[in-house]
Each structure stands twice: as structure tokens, then as C-alpha cells.
């Protein structure tokens, strides 16, 4: 065996990647650098340079990916239109008087806001601005407050619209409309499990935060009326998708456009808000796409080592119960998820996981939801958890490890949800099966 043996290179690359990331090198730099170095070891410096240089164009000049900036813009516009605050206020007025009320309100509000936000990271970002200061001001523990906004954001990837479900649909070449629909009930279920988690946590440790004020029914109904705007967006985006006006990619632009119209008619919305929303979208897009193309340089290198194909072959050759293999695959995702971000993990693994899943006779829509749920878990688990970093990005004053600690109970909650989805596939498949004609 030599140092340029593909398997050795593959293992070395993982070690190098983790080392660089651990030393604080930006993820996209680490992934691109290790991918490039691996390619150079296999195909020479000049070829590796030319090959890596293809990726930023190839992985951004993609029509289907336009849904990502559109979903980001939709989320930012909803934020500037004050919808985040309205959702959060309504949730706070309804459930704030319960034990852990503000944390519960955050979960309920992130679930509601998920209906206009297609990106977990964006959702965590806006709730870090809206809900986190309120929780800290009210005397909630910083850790759990930051953890709940990091975890609540992940709901956005299951409840439609969802950028990552679109990416899965593109790679798996399966019905994106059905996938988006399939995410709805599991997303709502995840929110319920989060609610139960908070209820248990605050019962066990009441010192995590005080109980809030309670309001009259009239006040509650008044707060709910403010949500008419969000309901309109949901109706137009989902209605457009299911009535056939829109392709899944177009739901991004349609949602952003409807939200923009809503903003224009709303008092207090300024042109400067639109400008800020667009600039924030441009900046967050640059950050997300840098990770996408950089991880794909690394994936390119893995492709040249032939490891993904070898692994798929080996898994299908195993003589084991298909659920045992499925759980094995999910455990691999738990490990991968420790150091990969959601999109990177999906792109990295799907080329060899999908044939395996097909070979085992599992439903691709169902697996897509399970996988996206696994990918979302990665966003809140150390050492690399994108949502945690996003919260930290908005609030650099809160240390990353504090946020990871606060997100841990929700990791446990997500494991419970995944088990439920595996035991009862109808939670995922019932709704999309209603739509097939």
C-alpha cells in the first residue's frame, strides 16, 4: 500500500479535513483545500486546479438551485414585513403563561414561520433576532434559549417550502411536489415532540426560565388575526403548487413575490427594507453556495478514489435484514453528521445510498424525509452544526458550545421522531398518497 492508494487517501483526507475544521479554518476553505489536495495527489497539480476550478460555476449555474436564494429572500422579506414578530407574539400570547412558555412559543412560532421559510439556517437566523433576546430578557437560561432557536429552525426544512427537500428530489429524480407534501406531517410531528421535550425539561428544572403572563381570550384572538398575512402566503404558495400553477422551483419566486406584494401594502415597510433583504440574501447565498461547491470539490475527489461505489457494493452484498441495514445507514449519517453540513452530507452520500435503498425496496419519498430529518439533526450536533453556527453568527457573544449544549435535548427529541417515522411510515406517506391520481 502506498500513500497514493485511494483508500489511504480517503482516510487521510477525512483526518485532514477534521483537523483543519477543528483549527477554525472556514468550512468551505477546508473542504475545497482537502478536495484539491486529494485530486492533486491522484491526477497532478495542473489537472486538479483545472478540475476544482469548474465547480463554482457548475454548482451555481443550476436552474433548480435558484429556489434557494428565492426561499431565503422569502424568509427575509417575511422578517422585514414583521411576520416573524407577529407569529412569535401570537404564540407567546397563547402559550406564554405555561411553564417554559417562551421556549414553547418559539417552537410554535418557528413551525408557523416554516410555512414561509424554506431554509433552516435562515429560520434560525431570524428567530435568533426575534425570540432569543426576549427569552434572555425574561431570564431564560442562555443555553436553552439559543438551543431552541437552533433546533426550531430545522422545522423549516420539513414543513414546505423546503430547499433541501428540493435538492433531494433533484438528485433522487423523484416527484418534488410529493416530497414537499410528505414533509408536512413529519414537520408538525417534530414540533410536537419539541413541545413535549420542553414541557419535560422545564418540569424537571424550573430554574431554566420563569412563567410568563397570561392573556384574555379576546387578546389571544386579536393576536391571531395578525397572522392573516402568513396564511395568505401559505395559501398562494401551497395552493399554487397543488393546483398546478407552479413548478416546485417556481414556488420560491412565487412565495417571495407574494410576500413582496404583501410588504408593499404594509405600512412601515420601506424600500431600504427590500434593499436589506436582497443584500442579506446575497450574502447568505454566497455563504451557502460556497459550502455547496467546496464540498463538491471534496466529493469529486472521493469520486476519483472510487470509495462511494465500493461502499455501496459492500453494503448490498451484506446478508442482513433490510431494517438492520437501514439502521446501519442511519448510524453512518449520525457519524457523518458530526462533521458535515446537511447539503454536503446529502450530496456526498446520495449517489451510493439511493441505489442501496432502492435495492432494499424502501420508498424513496419516505427515505427522503427520514434523510432530511437526519440531515437536520446534523445542523444541531457538534462539532459542525450549521444552525448552531448561524445562531452564533447573529450572536457572536454566545459561545458555540453553549448553543450545542442547549440543542442537545432537541437532538434526543429528533431521535424519537425518526424512530416514529421508521415504525409508522404512513406518517410520511399518507398525505402524498392522497394527492396521487
Amino acid at each position: 500500500m502506498s500513500l497514493t492508494d485511494p483508500a489511504i487517501l480517503g482516510v487521510l483526507s477525512v483526518v485532514l479535513l477534521l483537523t483543519l475544521v477543528g483549527l477554525g479554518v472556514r468550512i468551505f476553505v477546508a473542504a475545497a483545500l482537502v478536495g484539491f489536495a486529494g485530486l492533486a495527489a491522484m491526477r497532478g497539480f495542473g489537472t486538479a486546479m483545472a478540475l476544482a476550478g469548474l465547480t463554482p460555476y457548475a454548482k451555481t449555474a443550476t436552474y433548480e438551485f435558484s429556489v434557494l436564494p428565492m426561499y431565503l429572500l422569502l424568509g427575509f422579506l417575511a422578517f422585514y414585513a414583521g411576520m416573524t414578530r407577529q407569529v412569535f407574539e401570537a404564540a407567546r400570547i397563547w402559550v406564554g403563561q405555561l411553564r417554559g412558555g417562551l421556549a414553547l412559543a418559539t417552537v410554535v412560532a418557528t413551525a408557523g414561520f416554516s410555512a414561509v421559510s424554506g431554509a433552516s439556517t435562515a429560520t434560525s437566523a431570524v428567530f435568533t433576532r426575534i425570540a432569543l433576546p426576549e427569552m434572555i430578557r425574561a431570564g431564560y437560561a442562555v443555553s436553552i434559549s439559543a438551543g431552541v432557536v437552533a433546533a426550531g429552525g430545522t422545522l423549516a426544512s420539513l414543513i414546505p417550502p423546503s430547499g433541501i427537500l428540493v435538492i433531494y428530489g433533484i438528485i433522487a429524480e423523484t416527484s418534488i411536489g410529493k416530497l414537499l407534501l410528505a414533509g408536512f406531517i413529519p414537520g408538525a410531528l417534530s414540533a410536537l415532540v419539541y413541545v413535549a421535550t420542553i414541557a419535560v425539561l422545564f418540569r424537571l428544572k424550573p430554574e431554566l426560565g420563569p412563567v410568563g403572563q397570561s392573556y384574555t381570550l379576546r387578546r389571544k384572538l386579536a393576536a391571531t388575526r395578525n397572522l392573516a398575512g402568513i396564511a395568505l402566503v401559505i395559501a398562494i404558495v401551497l395552493g399554487g403548487l397543488y393546483s398546478g400553477w407552479l413548478t416546485p422551483t417556481e414556488t420560491g419566486a412565487a412565495g417571495a413575490f407574494v410576500m413582496l406584494v404583501f410588504c408593499v401594502f404594509k405600512t412601515g415597510f420601506r424600500l431600504a427594507n427590500l434593499r436589506d433583504a436582497l443584500i442579506e440574501t446575497a450574502q447568505v447565498s454566497a455563504m451557502i453556495f460556497a459550502i455547496i461547491w467546496a464540498v463538491l470539490i471534496y466529493v469529486r475527489f472521493l469520486g476519483f478514489t472510487g470509495l462511494p461505489g465500493d461502499i455501496a457494493e459492500w453494503v448490498l452484498g451484506l446478508d442482513a435484514n433490510r431494517y438492520v441495514i437501514l439502521i446501519g445507514i442511519l448510524l453512518v449519517y449520525v457519524v457523518l453528521g458530526m462533521f458535515m453540513d446537511a447539503i454536503g452530507m446529502l450530496l456526498l452520500t446520495l449517489p451510493f445510498v439511493l441505489p442501496t435503498i432502492d435495492g432494499l425496496g424502501f420508498n424513496e419519498i419516505w427515505f427522503g424525509i427520514i434523510l432530511v430529518k437526519m440531515a437536520e439533526i446534523c445542523l444541531i450536533t457538534p462539532p459542525i452544526g450549521l444552525n448552531v453556527f448561524v445562531v452564533h453568527g447573529v450572536r457572536p457573544d454566545i459561545p458555540v458550545n453553549t448553543i450545542f449544549r442547549g440543542a442537545f435535548p432537541f437532538f434526543i427529541a429528533d431521535v424519537v421522531t425518526v424512530i416514529l417515522l421508521i415504525l409508522i411510515p404512513d406518517i410520511v406517506l399518507w398525505l402524498p398518497n392522497q394527492m396521487s391520481g
Binding site: 436552474y63 410529493k178 398546478g244 413548478t247 449517489p351
Partner: protein
């Protein structure tokens, strides 16, 4: 058969998507060449765009990232204007054996061969894909006029030809076609018939398909980089030429098998097959295809390429003359 002696050579071959009828020729080359060289000349097939995205496969060959790759000439029409001649709509090529003959004759023309050479690649093989056909929902287009007002999914030359019939074409990406048909965003979509319609599951949401509209093909080729070809021992070069005929035969069989599998499924799903008579097709070709051919010829001649002669080659070979 005698084993071909020679040094150990490995080619990495960049493919996209999962193994399917379309990629079968690469598998057949791999198998036949390995058999004939006793495993000395091997093709490593990389699926799923692991080595490169489909559009970047030509760049990948040019920079020496891998030795061989699939590439479709329609990805970037102005890169290979001559090859686009074979993609012209409604060329009168009735079946796959004729198509094979047309392809090989066409690329043997000096101008066509020089085009690939200028791009730094050598063509080993052109995949025999069946002609495009439409599959759609709603009123079946029995007559020429029925296409008027239909919203369709078609690209480049075919889109031009169909818009001459009053159809409006959207450029919807393949993974979104199923949902778009299902939800009525478009009325019909064109794909290589029948395997692609079946693979995308379009029959699940469609009412009819055209069985012999035969509006054309987007050709995909297996290329090898010039450097890798130059470095290949002569006996291996000869071997590739030798097994090519067998690959073509297997290619045709795979497509026939796909028809045998999918067409009954389409029928069971209650789809209406629309057949056009020659009397119907002839005026179509004159009306919608001829102008597109003429424009292509003009463009080639204006750029100093023998467009007229090349079109002649296609039409005559297709005619069997």
C-alpha cells in the same frame, strides 16, 4: 477469439445518472474489452456524475481529469455546430439500424471529424437513442392543427419546430417534468421514447403519446481525450473498433427490450397511442422542419463549413442511397 496482448491500461469513464439503457454501451465496451484483453485494458465506470457534471465532461477530457466520458452535443450547441446537424428536427431516419449508418457516415466526413479534433477529443461511439416522442395530458393532438396552443416541454431545434405549429414551449428541467405534467403546468413533454418516459414515470400522469411523430434525437457520444487515445497501444485501438459493432447490436437490443417492457405498460395505463400517416407527416416536415434545416445550412455555410453537403449526406444515407 484470440486474447489481445498488451500493457495494463485503465480508463476512468465519467457518466451521469444511474446505470440504465442509455449507459449500457459503456458497460458493454467495458465487458467486451476486458474479456478480449484478459483484463489488461479496463474501463472504470463512474456513475452519478461522480467525476464531473454532464455539461463539464468535455472540459474534464480537455484538462485530462479522466480518459473517457459521455457527452451530449446539445449541451452547448455552438461548441459543436456540425454535430448539431444530426440533432436537427424531423430528419427522416426511420429506425435504429439506419440511424447507426447515418451517424457513422456523417462523422466520417472530414469536416465533422475535424470538429471533435479541434475540441481535443476523439469520438469512439454514438449512443443509439430512440427518437423523441411526446407524452401528454388532455386532448390528443390527432391533427397538425391540434398542436396549436399546447404548452409543451421541448428544447432547441424541436422547440423551434413545434412553435411553428403554434405550440408554446417551456424549458422545464427533466426532474420537474413529472410534476409539471401532473399539475397541468404543461400539456406534453418530449423525451426519447419509450425508456425515458417510463423512467420518469410520465405514463402515470398522461393520457396519450405520439408513437411515430419522430421529431428527432439529441445525440450523446462516448469520447476519449486525444492524449489518452494517442497513448493507447495500437492493438487496443483496433480492438475498440472491433467490438464497436457488437456494442451497436447490443445497444439496439436494449432499446427494443425497453420498448417491449414499457409500451405494454403504457397501454395498460390506458394511454392512447397517436399514429400519424405519411400524408400527415410530409406537409409537417415541409412546414416546420425544412426552415430549421435551411437555417442550420445557412449558418454553417456563412461560417465556412460545408453545411449543404453535410445535410445531403444525412438525407442520402437515411434514404439508403
Amino acid at each position: 477469439q484470440e486474447v489481445v496482448e498488451g500493457p495494463k491500461v485503465t480508463w476512468n469513464v465519467s457518466l451521469w445518472g444511474n446505470p440504465r439503457a442509455f449507459t449500457q454501451p459503456a458497460e458493454d465496451f467495458k465487458r467486451l474489452i476486458a474479456e478480449r484483453t484478459d483484463g489488461r485494458f479496463t474501463w472504470e465506470l463512474f456513475y452519478g456524475g461522480q467525476l464531473s457534471g454532464p455539461r463539464e465532461n468535455l472540459d474534464g477530457l480537455q484538462i485530462g481529469a479522466f480518459e473517457a466520458a459521455y457527452y451530449s452535443s446539445a449541451f452547448s450547441p455552438d461548441k459543436n455546430p456540425i454535430a448539431m446537424g444530426l440533432d436537427l428536427p424531423f430528419l427522416p431516419i426511420p429506425d435504429l439500424p439506419t440511424r447507426e449508418k447515418v451517424i457513422e457516415t456523417y462523422f466520417a466526413q472530414p469536416a465533422a471529424a475535424a470538429e471533435w479534433d479541434g475540441l481535443g477529443v476523439k469520438r469512439l461511439y454514438t449512443v443509439l437513442v430512440p427518437q423523441f416522442e411526446f407524452m401528454g395530458v388532455g386532448e390528443p393532438p390527432i391533427e397538425l392543427e391540434d398542436w396549436n396552443g399546447k404548452r409543451i416541454r421541448a428544447l432547441s431545434g424541436l422547440a423551434d419546430a413545434m412553435s411553428a405549429l403554434g405550440a408554446s414551449s417551456s424549458s422545464i428541467s427533466p426532474p420537474e417534468v413529472y410534476t409539471s405534467l401532473e399539475r397541468g403546468v404543461i400539456d406534453a413533454a418530449s423525451f426519447p421514447f419509450s425508456y425515458a418516459h417510463g423512467a420518469y414515470g410520465l405514463h402515470e400522469v398522461s393520457d396519450w403519446y405520439t408513437a411515430n411523430l419522430n421529431p428527432g434525437v439529441n445525440h450523446a457520444h462516448i469520447f476519449v481525450s486525444k492524449e489518452a487515445w494517442a497513448a493507447l497501444p495500437d492493438q487496443y485501438k483496433t480492438l475498440i473498433e472491433e467490438v464497436k459493432q457488437e456494442v451497436y447490436a447490443l445497444n439496439m437490443k436494449a432499446m427494443d427490450d425497453a420498448d417491449a417492457k414499457w409500451i405494454p405498460i403504457f397501454k395498460d395505463a390506458g394511454l392512447v397511442a397517436i399514429e400519424y400517416t405519411d400524408e400527415q407527416r410530409a406537409p409537417w416536415i415541409e412546414k416546420v422542419a425544412r426552415p430549421v434545416w435551411d437555417r442550420w445550412v445557412e449558418e454553417q455555410e456563412a461560417a465556412g463549413r460545408p453545411g449543404k453537403e453535410l445535410l445531403q449526406v444525412i438525407l442520402e444515407t437515411a434514404n439508403g442511397s
